[in-house]
């Protein structure tokens, strides 16, 4: 997904770490088809989601050369446009496609700007701005991650029914986590958790977003 960007920016002390919130066997065919030049890491227990408070994919964090977060977790270029999809024809209205492309281009341009300009990029947020965008602590979420971790362990031990009980607990405690819901949901032949239950849950969001929108400015005006 980010290969083109990598090719463009690889000489600029810029690395992409792609973390799959996924079982290794599920991720494997995608990685082997794409053969990206950057590291593709497998996070079957969603540890990074626990560490960083992630809820969906794709989300991204920008980290500078000293290891400091310059953009906290946010949606990485995706939009809720898919919710307008015709579910029998699998088509999107043209204006939705255009908006989706615009948002994605905006995000990629910002990323490019940071890769080229580093701390001088206005998209690299100062400390106060990063802190302001961090989500507050929620004890229920921490418990949810513990149940998910246990569930994944139990699944590996073949204790599937018990695993599902803990996954149900995790979902109840952390309903905003699409990572947990989709990872543990029944999958179709393509490995997608995109059946009627998924759409029902998306529809139940109502006005709430599936992907939290990102506040990224467009191109800077020339002075």
């Amino acid at each position: 997904m980010w290969q083109a960007l990598f090719d463009e920016l690889k000489d600029r002390d810029f690395v992409i770490l792609a973390v799959a919130m996924d079982q290794p066997d599920a991720a494997r065919p995608w990685v082997e088809a794409a053969l990206p030049a950057y590291p593709c890491l497998i996070d079957r227990d969603h540890h990074v989601a626990d560490l960083y408070g992630l809820v969906n994919v794709p989300q991204a964090i920008w980290i500078d050369e000293s290891g400091r977060i310059v953009r906290p977790p946010e949606t990485a270029g995706s939009t809720d446009g898919f919710r307008s999809m015709d579910r029998t024809r699998f088509t999107l209205p043209d204006e939705v496609v255009a908006e989706r492309n615009r948002i994605k281009a905006l995000y990629l341009d910002a990323l490019r700007d940071w890769a080229e300009r580093g701390a001088q990029s206005r998209h690299a947020l100062n400390e106060a701005a990063v802190v302001a965008r961090l989500k507050p602590a929620e004890p229920a979420i921490a418990i949810a991650h513990a149940h998910f971790r246990l569930g994944q362990h139990l699944l590996r031990e073949g204790r599937t029914e018990l695993a599902q009980e803990h996954f149900a607990q995790a979902i109840q405690l952390h309903p905003d986590s699409w990572n947990i819901w989709r990872q543990t949901a029944a999958k179709d032949a393509r490995g997608l958790a995109a059946g009627p239950e998924f759409w029902a849950r998306v529809d139940a969001l109502g006005d709430r977003p599936y992907y939290d929108p990102v506040a990224i400015d467009g191109p800077a005006r020339p002075t």
Binding site: W2, I63, K135, A142, R149
Partner: protein, 138 residues
Amino acid sequence: MITVLHEQRASPLPRASADGDALWLERDDIEQATGWSWKPQGLCHGDVCVPLPHGAAGQAIVRGDSLDIAALWRHMGNPVVHDAGGSAWVLGSGSAQRAGALATLEAPDFSLPDLDGQSHRLSDYRGKKVFLATWASW
């Protein structure tokens, strides 16, 4: 066999014993499973030591050379979950700890394998700008 899961560790502990919501571990096993050390001043990690609380309603947290790590873990504000049979335990990290770590703005470190089994640690990439992005097949 009781297995204790903590952060990215998974430790099978033959000497551990469980009793309801209590998980009794010996000194060495505590260190192996969690990286925390049970010292006279309490449970310690780096510069931090958590003094052992006195058990509620007369329930001791120490029994000979064993410590009810689950009770102490919950006392520290961290989640503890286990399967019904008490054979698999997660000593989780509490929300205050996670939020506190992020608030330092230092990107929390981790190590994950690629599909060839090679480990990659985030902090290995210091000196470069890192775009850490998630994806999934589902």
